[in-house]
Symmetry: C2
Subunit: 240 residues, 2 copies
């Protein structure tokens, strides 16, 4: 059943406009009577039926609601140094599927990305699309791009900060992380981090870890570290 | 230091021709006296110096050799149902970085890929490029595309066969897999598997596992499952 994101569900009647209406009406060409699922980011799947669809909007009536089981049970935020635009989209898409709650791009000394504002709006659309595909009800949230020091000042808000540090030669990722509730992951750009940046992250409580002897591309490091963290947090168990 | 793949190292003098010579001479424009690393797939890094480079070939002399530390210590083979071509390239690239030894494409009932021969030669080039980037000496080997039944008949050669089964609602991936030496992973295409195919894999010894409640795209399942398996096998520990 096709899924659509709405801002809010209030009562039994919903009107879809904008991009989601356009997707329903002009791309998928769904018609009156078709049943779909609406997600309002509140942890529920709202089963609804199309009652009217016109050029400008679609009217739906809600039939019932069930708890969404695909939303992550843990809170993981990826702080990602700006990579090239295509890689940033790939990271957002894969991290949404993996159950990451928030992705915050940040600037660092050696970033090569030309567009430093990180195109949060465009990345949020990628996240929204991936949210529907993987059947979450709450989208991954793409934050505004932070300066390096702003990113570091946020780290105190987390129980555990895992820092993928290419200079780390000793500590692997500890598999015993399921006791934490609110985890941050930090991954660098294609250019890596400056020595002072590494020190700043570690001094702010970042647990420096190695991902082994192979040099991973920035997007590979982000996707595979998020996959392993989610696995260790029990997010690969199936809930009926 | 730039890396180049050669078929064989025999004595102290090496001649580079074909694609690797072209990359050195015409793309990177390296000149006489430049030091590079040669890999012949034997677990060593051969440090060499360019002695002569012409339009058709490059001559090098080997200075010394050291053990390559980026090659995987475990043997993992990914049997991947044919996905769309771009996704297949993405899987090969990422799995090379993650330390997978071999990738074998196979046909299944619901594949949508138009090109059923899987373009093994093109995928091997992706693997070779990624091998150099992540600093392995032995490339990931891309096998010829198998029929479904041929794939199933190969499974008896492995200590453990992990089968990412979207219909599995009970068993998660067991974290205690480091005792195995020779592991196979099976991941489906965008279209998933037919019920008979699922039964055939399980009957041949495939351990059906769930990756959780979120629906993962085929390439996300492949990359993230390989990442988790490599982590559990100790491949994210750093070796000095």
């Amino acid at each position: 059943m096709k899924r659509f994101l709405v801002d809010k569900i209030d009562g039994n009647n919903v009107t879809l406009t904008g991009a989601e209406h356009n997707h329903l009406h002009n791309v998928l060409r769904l018609t009156e009577g078709t049943e779909v699922i609406l997600n309002a980011g509140d942890g529920f799947d709202y089963h609804a039926k199309i009652t009217k669809t016109t050029k400008s909007s679609t009217e739906l009536v809600i039939l019932n609601s069930t708890k969404n089981l695909a939303d992550p049970k843990v809170s993981v935020t990826l702080f990602q140094a700006l990579t090239k635009s295509d890689n940033m989209s790939l990271i957002v898409q894969k991290c949404t599927e993996l159950g990451v709650s928030k992705l915050v791009p940040f600037e660092s000394k050696f970033i090569t990305a030309k567009d430093k504002n990180g195109k949060a709006d465009k990345l949020q659309l990628v996240a929204n699309q991936s949210t529907k595909q993987c059947r979450r009800s709450v989208p991954l949230l793409v934050g505004q791009t932070l300066k390096f020091n702003q990113m570091v000042s946020k780290l105190k808000d987390y129980d555990l900060v895992i820092f993928a540090n290419e200079c780390e030669k000793t500590m692997p990722l500890n598999c015993d992380i399921s006791k934490y509730k609110n985890i941050a992951i930090i991954v660098g750009s294609e250019g890596g981090f400056d020595k002072d940046e590494i020190n700043a992250i570690v001094n702010a409580g970042g647990k420096s870890v190695t991902l082994g002897n192979r040099i991973l591309r920035a997007e590979t490091a982000a996707i595979s570290l998020c996959a392993v963290v989610m696995y260790l947090m029990g997010e690969w168990n199936y809930e009926n």
